[in-house]
């Protein structure tokens, strides 16, 4: 679901790197997001304390996940919310479709939600005659362009205003060509207002679900989330089952971490707490509210003590913003819904190592993602874990698969030998000094040498020079 037909990671990376416009769009956006995050978290000690709280709150919730989900279900049901469970993406899609069909609804308005991207909801509903309209401005833009999101928080970040201006002019009837951001927003507002007015079902995600009060927390800036959950007669909320927290009191620190990390805001324009459909006597709000709890591999992830930490993720996207690889290749190159460091860890677990394990190679292990993660997911460690697990996918099981190839073991043995015998070491250095510039551009070294200027080795090693110059310590 969600990924394009043939996944050629290397090809995607090379194409993205060759796209200068994409790299400029990304660089300026990511620099801005990093700057804003730093400005809002201006007290480093406070930030570290807050991250520890965020980490413990999510770990506390995960440690008693089944109990919390049952509590959430009971309290949501008492609030009049209809709770559904879905084991797989396909099951969740079928549940949404069945609700739409029960309402004879053909027009769905949707707020931004990564979990609906994960299950490929839009395509599924479209194939069954239900039109889904994305209402978040960024999602609206990429839906017009027929593209998947390229970032968890700013889905159209890869496009600049000229590209959006041309898109609106071409795809929205009656839209004039304009590159003014205010005017582009006004075009979107006019178009989408009519759709909210006509929408029969509203679909949203969930940022946090509070077990004790049966409440769904949804953060947003545009008001489209409020529209989708207020105006249509039916609201369907979807959440990965790791989104549950115990108490209302858990929200303030988690909200602070989420909005600060995601957009550098101290709070978003709207923080919705939804605890049920329209109550008797109320004049608006949906008549029906459905909550779909999606597993889709999460229970399997929870069973591994190390990988479990993946489920702490609150989808703030800050690991993308800080990743030197993401900033250069953008979200589409990753080929699946979740890009960047979190995608490198989550996607192989959701889609399988055979299909998506290669994602974990897109990291220099520079540690930036781990340092900024608001809930302290050790992303670099988990990326390495994915690499190890991926390497262990050999036919004879882990033991067999983990044995390195003969040439690799041999190479390391020679390296060790050369570095433990002074004579060999001197000889090696001398050879490098003379022939080092002529690294072969073919064969096993090509991955390095084919795309780089040859290194310039000194004719004499530092060690040799020190001996010759007679350093006092020698």
């Amino acid at each position: 679901m969600g990924e394009r037909p043939a996944f050629d990671f290397r090809g995607n990376i090379l194409r993205a790197l060759a796209d200068g416009q994409l790299r400029r769009n990304l660089q300026s956006a990511m620099d801005g997001l990093i700057r804003k995050r730093r400005a809002v978290f201006d007290d480093p000690a406070e930030l570290e304390a807050l991250r520890t709280v965020g980490q413990s709150l999510k770990q506390a919730a995960l440690s008693r996940l089944p109990a919390l989900l049952e509590e959430l279900e009971a309290n949501c049901t008492a609030n009049g919310i209809q709770v559904h469970w879905a084991e797989t993406a396909a099951e969740a899609n079928r549940l949404v479709l069945a609700i739409c069909q029960g309402e004879r609804a053909t027009r769905v308005v949707k707020g931004k939600s990564m979990v609906t991207e994960e299950i490929g909801l839009n395509h599924f509903l479209a194939d069954h005659g239900v039109e889904v309209l994305e209402t978040d401005l960024g999602e609206f833009i990429i839906q017009l362009a027929g593209e998947p999101p390229s970032h968890i928080i700013v889905p159209a970040v890869h496009k600049n205003r000229d590209q959006i201006a041309r898109l609106f002019h071409a795809r929205i009837p009656g839209a004039p060509y304009t590159e003014k951001v205010e005017e582009l927003n006004a075009i979107a507002r006019r178009t989408l207002r009519q759709k909210f007015f006509e929408g029969q079902v509203g679909v949203s995600g969930v940022n946090f679900a509070v077990a004790r009060t049966g409440s769904l927390c949804l953060v947003e800036n545009e008001g489209n989330g409020r529209m989708c959950t207020t105006v249509p007669p039916v609201h369907i909320a979807l959440m990965g089952l790791e989104k549950v927290v115990a108490r209302l009191e858990d929200l303030p620190p988690l909200l602070r971490l989420l909005t600060g990390s995601a957009t550098g805001q101290i709070v978003t324009t709207y923080v919705n707490l939804i605890s049920g459909p329209r109550r008797p006597g109320e004049k608006d709000g949906p008549r029906e509210l459905h909550l779909i709890l999606l597993d889709n591999g999460r229970s399997r992830i929870l069973a591994d003590p190390e990988l479990r930490q993946t489920l702490q993720c609150i989808r703030c996207g800050t690991c993308l913003n800080h990743c030197p690889v993401y900033v250069r290749i953008g979200g589409h190159a990753y080929g699946f819904v979740y890009p960047g460091p979190i995608g490198e860890v989550l996607t192989p677990q959701l889609e399988g190592l055979a299909r998506a394990g290669v994602l974990a190679t897109a990291s220099s292990l520079c540690q930036a993602c781990g340092e900024v993660c608001p809930v302290r997911i050790p992303l670099p460690d988990l990326i390495r874990r994915m690499r190890t697990d991926g390497a262990c996918q050999g036919p004879g099981g882990p033991e067999d698969g983990c044995r390195p190839p003969l040439w690799e073991s041999l190479a390391w043995k020679i390296w060790a030998l050369v570095n433990t015998h002074p004579g060999l070491n001197a000889l090696g250095n001398a050879l490098l000094g003379r022939f080092g510039r002529r690294l072969p551009r073919r064969g096993p070294l090509a991955a390095w040498s084919a795309v780089r200027t040859p290194p310039r080795f000194a004719p004499k090693s530092l060690h040799a020079l020190a001996v010759k110059e007679g350093l006092p310590h020698e």
């Binding site: 008693r64 996940l65 951001v181 007015f197 409020r226 207020t230 709070v267």
Partner: protein, 220 residues
């Protein structure tokens, strides 16, 4: 309803967390704020930073203070909630014959019967349940008399806030007002007019919700 999925998921989850020691959730207290006047000043500063117009007005004369704001913005149709204390004082202070005042339109019927009207008015005035000073948010608790779309659909939202209901933090207002004991169907924190930065990270206001937010803080 899809009972097999529920049973399967829960049994897998139980197996997954078997033997995991429950982690005690920690307490978090945001940095303390100076109280009193400074608290309201911080709220005002944060709201103004997100393009919100804030006025401090006398508690007993807020309707009079509202009139020039509406005139200046050319509001012709003002949506309000009849039957609330706010609605009653608006009715009492309104001179329906005055030509330069907007027509007041009560939200009296269910949304289905007056959807076009709600989408066409120029402004709505609502109450607030309080405010959070450390992040600069208003707390709205829409109910049967004051529907939630009032603060969402019209292009101008005017929120009336009691200066006595300004709290330090979200946690503080949750505790003081005992939210956990009885959550309304819809509770929303509002911090400024609707905004987006989805095009080139350029901030723009009024994308789906209100284009403008005016806060009247009632002081004695």
């Amino acid at each position: 309803m899809n009972e097999p999925a529920r049973t399967m998921i829960l049994s897998r989850l139980r197996a997954a967390v078997r033997g995991v020691l429950p982690v005690a959730p920690p307490e978090w207290n945001p940095p303390a704020l100076p109280g009193g006047e400074a608290r309201i000043e911080r709220l005002q500063r944060l709201l103004e930073a997100v393009r919100t117009e804030v006025h401090r007005v006398p508690r007993t004369a807020w309707v009079e203070s509202l009139k020039p704001i509406l005139r200046q913005r050319g509001v012709r149709r003002l949506l309000y909630a009849p039957g609330t204390p706010l609605g009653r004082s608006l009715e009492a202070g309104w001179d329906d014959g005055a030509g330069d005042l907007p027509r007041r339109i009560p939200f009296e019927r269910p949304m289905e019967d007056c959807k076009a009207m709600v989408f066409e008015v120029d402004a709505a005035v609502t109450s607030t349940a309080g405010a959070v000073a450390d992040v600069g948010s208003l707390v709205l608790r829409p109910d049967a008399r004051e529907p939630r779309s009032m603060s969402l659909v019209p292009p101008l939202h005017i929120a009336v806030l009691d200066s006595a209901a300004v709290f330090d933090s979200l946690g503080a207002i949750m505790r003081a007002q005992k939210w956990a004991a009885a959550m309304p169907a819809n509770l929303v924190l509002v911090s400024g007019p609707s905004r987006t930065a989805d095009i080139e990270m350029t901030l723009a206001f009024g994308v789906h919700g209100p284009k403008a937010l005016v806060v009247l803080i009632l002081v004695d």
